[in-house]
Subunit: 268 residues, 2 copies
């Protein structure tokens, strides 16, 4: 059983995990430093708990208590109950999904451990958009990719927006951070992966011709929307591949390109 | 040469095309009824003009005049110049991209005419989310789909958000509306297309096995995020196909699923 505590003061210090959620810059610094992240909505909170993340606290309106009761009891963490209009003063926005949980982060696996257990991975370089990160995790989970590696400058997959867009896939697809870049890619090749860099360059090999689905171990290297991959990262890859595109058209959105590449790499 | 007119009154009736842009319900009704749509930002405005849509008026801040000068002159339409803080009172939001154009709609092609010239089309049923519509058009353009057919209840591809997310692909990929649903799909089959309904159902044929890239003419039928295709629409299809997914995972986002299906249908 957990404590269910009615709170009426938006400045109550026990709510500090939930303050200023709309201030992206603040939360970006605070959450990793304080070892927490925010899960939003019943479905995502349940998935985070099921994945083994410890609950630090919950914040919800009274009407969500019955639906969340079992989660609260199992968590052992305090649940703060507040009318939506007061909660909005804490968080900075109207929480449509009714419930928020602050969860504790757990240590990330080492890249080597992740690679040892994987056959299909995606590696992102400098992907900074939380929506794109979330979308890529969602597609990776759906299409059966085994893991994600992040360059040091990629944004945090546990940021609220990424978690939400991923529908909780950030909890189910294992991920790790490479600490040196792009030299960390050498470890991926040494683990037996063929590293394919996705690029719109005309000179790159068409994705089908690279036959990613026939490779025993394949790592798909993706850059950020707009900038794409850096030249130095591409030089660490085994090959450059492109998704054939119609002439005179902007490239695919990075989320769409990722889904296509995952499909090509995982199809039977 | 066009008129460049400085306006200081946000209630000036000449600005009526641009009022209340954040009121989705209002704009949804007004824009088709008044035969207009809004293009936002230099790139998208240029693409709309290049695609042959007539400009009715532009609204921009002084600092954007030099960059837009050639577009304004070529359009022959009045350009209203307003400081951003006043323009915000007209539109309801801060226009980050600096310039707005109201453009006139042009008649949509008949589905039969569109089908006669196409080999690869996508058909959407009841896709109501403007972001998803825009994303699907962008991927359709990039991957070389020839056209889009919309069920009667699909949202408007020319709504501002769709236009923006599509990066202007709504201007380059021809689209038409089927007026009867789902019986209008019979005309697609009669035009020689094999209609493949995308569904997560386990009993459906894996997408690769259906070999869409080997079919002379193929129509990919997609439903909305969440609800998916209606049973009655699926009954009008030639076959049901699925993108193989990992167990226990939510399906792909409809935009990601569309990109995968377009790739499978267009790859060499």
């Amino acid at each position: 059983m957990a404590d269910i505590i009615t709170v009426r003061d938006p400045h109550d210090p026990r709510l500090s995990d939930f303050t200023g959620l709309t201030d992206v810059e603040l939360r970006r610094r605070r959450e990793p430093a304080e070892g927490l992240f925010i899960a939003e909505g019943e479905k995502v909170i349940r998935r985070a708990a099921r994945a083994g993340y410890p609950t630090r606290a919950m914040l919800l309106s009274e009407k969500w208590l019955p639906a969340m009761r079992d989660v609260i009891d199992a968590s052992g963490a305090p649940a703060y109950v507040m009318p939506p209009e007061l909660a909005e003063q804490v968080t900075g926005y109207h929480v449509h999904r009714g419930a928020l949980a602050s969860m504790g982060r757990t240590p990330l696996p080492e890249p080597e451990a992740l690679l040892a257990a994987a056959r299909r991975v995606v590696i992102m370089e400098a992907v900074n958009d939380h929506t794109n990160i979330g979308a890529i995790f969602r597609s990776a989970a759906a299409l059966g990719m085994d893991g994600v590696l992040l360059s040091p400058s990629c944004a945090d997959p546990l940021y609220r927006r990424s978690v939400k867009v991923s529908m909780g896939a950030v909890f189910s697809v294992p991920y790790a951070r490479l600490t040196t870049w792009p030299h960390g890619l050498a470890a991926v090749r040494e683990a037996g992966f063929r590293v394919l860099a996705l690029t719109p360059e005309e000179s790159a090999l068409p994705l089908e011709a690279a036959g990613p689905h026939r490779l025993p171990r394949v790592a798909l290297l993706l850059g950020a929307e707009g900038d794409g991959l850096s030249e130095r990262a591409m030089r660490e890859a085994d090959a450059r591949v492109r998704i054939p595109m119609a002439h005179g058209v902007d490239s695919l959105n990075v989320g769409a390109a990722a889904a296509v590449a995952f499909y090509a790499a995982t199809r039977a």
